[in-house]
């Protein structure tokens, strides 16, 4: 509940602040009017309406959507790998998605970032990476977590190198690809939102339906099997779901780190580890977090815009270190 309130406030703030300020009251009245609940409020300039509905609203909603997707993917990967440090970026899935997206953009098949073709290519890249890492890590009858993380790091490094090489040969496109890679929601518009919504909806729906099984995996694969989980099949479904969510996020907003890592980690302190509570919280909390991060990115040093990925890293890094220190000092506390 507190998280929903936080998200509402974040959304209103995200809509209100900027080069042109819009008060929460005006925002709410304009929203009510658009939804057909009220008359068009008097005395509101047409430019405000354009800014709100064509610029701010899609941007804020996109930030919320991407935040929810990344936080969900992070929660899935952490549960699956029984490691609170797991994250779409760490196991290489984000890089894979980026690679897929860039290849489509450079080939000219995708007209712009956020198009359906780009999303599909990002999904293909993320999925391919997830399963490549899974295959590499699969030495015996089961995948071991340590091997999986190491494979992920190695694959991510190779893909990052490949992305750099592709960019070096990309000529005109290099600047736009570079800024896209940094991560951001500027001028993506309603089209990007429309491209990402179905993927995120499917991905989070699947994840929410399997929260009980996610709990089992945290006891270890063997124990989960003893408690009735078809572990190998479940891992494949979760890998695919995580890849889908990551791809949806990456294809519309580039590489934004720390959301998938931090959100579940912080929320676990409040809700406990049970995914039946943690996952819904992570969806709402991740959305709120990224809306606020985006707000900070575009208002802190006007008129310049900081890449939102830099903001999340700036916020996330120190906070994460703080958590780590606190956990070290009193083992088990804060759980």
């Amino acid at each position: 509940m507190a998280l929903v309130a936080l998200l509402s406030i974040a959304l209103l703030a995200g809509l209100g602040f900027g080069s042109v300020g819009i008060s929460p009251g005006t925002t709410l009245r304009l929203l009510a009017w658009k939804l057909g609940l009220a008359e068009r409020p008097a005395g509101v300039p047409a430019s405000t309406v354009v800014i709100l509905f064509d610029l701010r609203l899609p941007r804020v909603l996109l930030a919320a959507l991407v935040g929810a997707a990344l936080a969900t993917a992070g929660t899935l990967f952490q549960a699956l790998f029984r490691n609170p440090m797991a994250d779409p970026a760490i196991i290489g899935v984000s890089s894979g998605a980026a690679m897929g997206a860039i290849l489509v953009i450079l080939s000219g098949a995708g007209a712009a970032f956020g198009g359906l073709a780009v999303s599909a290519a990002a999904f293909a890249g993320a999925l391919a990476t997830a399963f490549l890492v899974y295959r590499l890590a699969r030495l015996g009858p089961a995948v071991h977590v340590g091997t999986l993380l190491l494979s992920g790091i190695a694959v991510a490094a190779v893909i990052s190198a490949a992305i750099s090489m592709v960019m070096a040969f990309s000529g005109q496109e290099i600047r736009s690809i570079y800024f896209w890679l940094l991560g951001g929601f500027g001028s993506r518009g309603w089209a990007a939102l429309g491209a990402a919504v179905p993927f995120v909806a499917i991905g989070s729906g699947v994840a929410l339906a399997m929260t009980g099984d996610l709990n089992l995996t945290s006891l270890g694969e063997e124990r989960a099997g003893q408690l009735g989980l078809e572990v190998e099949r479940f891992k494949r479904i979760m890998l695919a779901t995580g890849a889908l969510l990551t791809a949806a996020a990456v294809s519309v907003s580039g590489l934004i780190g720390f959301v998938g890592l931090m959100t579940p980690h912080i929320l676990r302190l409040a809700t406990g580890a049970d995914h039946r509570r943690l996952l819904p919280s992570a969806i709402v909390g991740g959305a709120a977090f990224l809306v606020l991060a985006d707000l900070a990115a575009r208002t802190l040093v006007p008129p310049e815009e900081i890449p939102v990925g830099a903001v999340t890293a700036l916020l996330g890094g120190p906070f994460f270190l703080f958590l780590l220190r606190r956990e070290r000092r009193s083992p088990g506390a804060g759980a």
Partner: protein, 432 residues
Amino acid sequence: MPEPEPGPGLVLEGVSAGYGARQVLREVSVRASPGEITGLIGANGSGKTTLIRVASRGLRPERGVVRVAGWDPYDLSARRAARLVAVVPQDVLATFPFSVLETVLMGRAPYLSPWGAGRPEDWSRVRSAMSMVGVSHLGDRAVSELSGGERQRVILAQALAQDAPVLLLDEPTTHLDIRHVVRILTLVRGLARREGTAVLAIFHDLNLASVYCDRIYALKEGRVVARGAPASVISSATLQQVFGVRADVLPGAAAGRPAVVFASVPQEGSLEPGAMRVHVIGGAGRGAELIRALMERGLEVSTGVLHATDTDAAVAERLNLIRITVPPFSQIDAGSAAECIGIIRKASALIVCDAPFGPGNVENLRIAIHSAREGVPTILLQQVPIEERDFTGGEATDAWRRLASGSAVTPGVEATLDAVEAIRSRGARRSG
């Protein structure tokens, strides 16, 4: 779905299993019947945990038959198998701070939907499992904060919540203090008796296995080397074979079940290679103290001829010594005497204890005289004069005196040990 075959409980028949090229179980057949606790004992790496894994659908065997409550678990979904067989592992990872209540509810997973909402009957099952193992008061605590013993009880509650007719315990008491060990094992036995649960449990503590098991299987290098009631499996000979250690087994000492003591017996490793062997002629318990003292010095001991029910014979059996026995109250027959002389001939020393001698065992003194003449260094342990323990009307006294004239006579165990030491160093000088 195939029809369940007759024979509930757990049945493994001719099971061979392993990991890749490494074969761990070879042709193992084990049965755990409903209402009983079946124990598994064996050294590390003998295949006990692998057997549990095979039985719980965790490792498909290369050959052989596995039946859980009549079903082949490998023909069932993981979910259906988990309703038939529950496992209590040695320990469980607690990566994330799940509460005790949430953790025990996971035991209901085979009955729940994938999002895992508990119905009222699930919660009541969870609560009763928690109170059975005594963790009700821990409900909201995070499992990651608990002590090893508390966590083990929580995992047991989780397995009990599964309501499975077959329960597999992989060393369920490793982290527990003795109060909880007794409580948990009594609980498990009650569960078996009341609900007809078939329990298969790995035991490291042989005394617990002896007291709580109805049947015991001993595994060595992936094979079953002994099986049966505790009284037959928990024996010095079997433990020597299975673990390669000498154990002092007291038959019937644990309320009718065998009890095992290790500390008093020197182990295989403490025997120097080619350690010298001393033969002890005792009787009526006069040899027991000396036998133990000799073994603690790292010497090998043989004994005889003894009557089978004699205290010294019981000690020799418990310590698994080379021994020659004859039926109770019988006279020592010529065959046993000759056999005994053969054994003494290869010993480095002979010690005759101050046992009472009667018609039944006076033959032992003749054996000793014969052996002394053959040149075996002989020591007489005399704390009680021969006249007070001669029940042959003089024959034993004569024989004892003849023996004493050519042997060392010592007044106590310590002096006897010194005399043995002297013989040993003479022998070492001679061979060196």
